[in-house]
């Protein structure tokens, strides 16, 4: 599946060797994903493995967020499919889910036993706080390629900020936010890209 020759310099130097490796890497990153997998996925896929550039990661994430279904699963499908088609997509998804499922079911059985243990509640709270920091840190890293966005720095900041406010503060439903902000953003980007192509 070696389609479309990549733009020189923009392509990260590495690629997964096999579906087995995809499965193992996704298992590994899922198992590090306490309180959410996105921050770990960014670290592992963009920085440690260098399979994806920050811009490619963002594109796949956008795809995963727009389509219905669990984001992280859609992201796994997109990443896996890039190199090995359907087999790769399913290998990545299976890696993301198989071992974590067994772990979480074992944890359920255990927590039911320990219900009400104060130290457990305290530890879970501390981990939740760190998870919030992890995701903000990953955002700061992913923001880099946006400096070359056809929307300009101000447009990017405005759209990102508006999305943050709409979801976190106004608690608007995601569908409304995607329609109200995402659609105009795409139309605007379309105009800018078309204008940019003309001399």
């Amino acid at each position: 599946m070696s389609d479309a020759s990549p733009p020189p310099g923009a392509e990260p130097p590495a690629a997964p060797r096999s579906c087995t490796q995809l499965f193992l890497v996704f298992t590994g990153l899922a198992l590090q994903g306490f309180g959410g997998v996105l921050a770990v996925a960014q670290r592992e896929l963009c920085e440690r493995r260098r399979w994806l550039s920050a811009a490619e990661f963002l594109e796949m994430l956008a795809f995963a967020q727009v389509l219905p279904g669990p984001n992280v699963c859609n992201l796994s499908l997109a990443v896996g499919q890039r190199w090995f088609g359907l087999r790769g997509a399913l290998a990545a998804l299976a890696g993301m889910l198989a071992l974590p499922l067994l772990l979480v079911l074992a944890a359920t059985a255990w927590v039911i036993d320990q219900a009400g243990a104060a130290w457990l509640q305290d530890a879970l709270r501390g981990m939740g706080i760190v998870a919030a920091g992890l995701i903000v840190g990953a955002c700061l890293k992913l923001a880099r390629p946006l400096r070359e966005s056809p929307l300009g720095t101000l447009g990017v900041a405005g759209l990102g900020g508006a999305t943050l406010i709409a979801i976190a503060l106004l608690k608007l439903p995601l569908g409304a936010v995607l329609a109200g902000l995402g659609l105009p953003a795409c139309l605007w980007a379309h105009r800018r890209l078309r204008a940019g192509r003309k001399p």
């Binding site: 967020q65 359920t108 501390g126 706080i129 929307l151 902000l181």
Partner: protein
């Protein structure tokens, strides 16, 4: 949990997850209110505490948060219940995503797709930031300090993420955050 498979119950769990799959826009957690309505309020398969446990465990345990859905199934009907709900929530959305990926691959240079990528990038980041914002411990100054320090460390250093998670658990147990 009886040793015999309760097929009507499993089918009901499967169907419930199947129905919600395409509604899980923006993360599996967005279908939690609806699952609560059906599984706790309507069918009384679970009580409030069990429902809350499923979400807390899936958030704390490693792996995607969508795993709270099989945990709900597990609490109702054991391992078969867990698998019924996991497969149900995955089939419709996975099918759709694979179809969309194929389409995207054959039209990678299409202007509409490039506009989609450029337009959605800031929205995507905004959504991710919003998740951090919602999880942030706004009521606790030490908590905010910790979250801020973690964000800086992730941004500027290559410190291992598991180390940060472990530090968070320790600080929680010590009562500092």
């Amino acid at each position: 949990m009886s040793p015999d498979l309760d097929l009507p119950l499993l089918a009901a769990l499967f169907g419930q997850a199947l129905l919600l799959s395409l509604l899980a826009i923006g993360g599996a957690i967005t279908v939690a209110p609806d699952l609560h309505r059906v599984m706790v309020a309507q069918q009384a398969w679970l009580d409030d505490a069990q429902f809350g446990h499923a979400i807390a465990i899936a958030q704390a345990a490693p792996g995607p948060n969508l795993l709270f859905i099989p945990v709900l199934g597990y609490q109702v009907a054991g391992l078969p219940g867990a698998l019924a709900m996991l497969v149900g929530i995955l089939i419709p959305s996975t099918t759709l995503a694979l179809a969309a990926l194929r389409l995207g691959q054959t039209h990678a240079r299409h202007p509409a797709l490039r506009a989609f990528k450029a337009g959605m990038a800031p929205i995507t980041l905004g959504l991710m930031l919003a998740t951090g914002f919602v999880l942030a411990p706004w009521g606790s100054a030490p908590g905010l300090l910790l979250a801020g320090a973690v964000a800086l460390l992730v941004w500027r250093t290559r410190v291992h993420l598991l180390l940060l998670i472990a530090a968070g658990a320790l600080l929680g147990v010590l009562g500092w955050v």
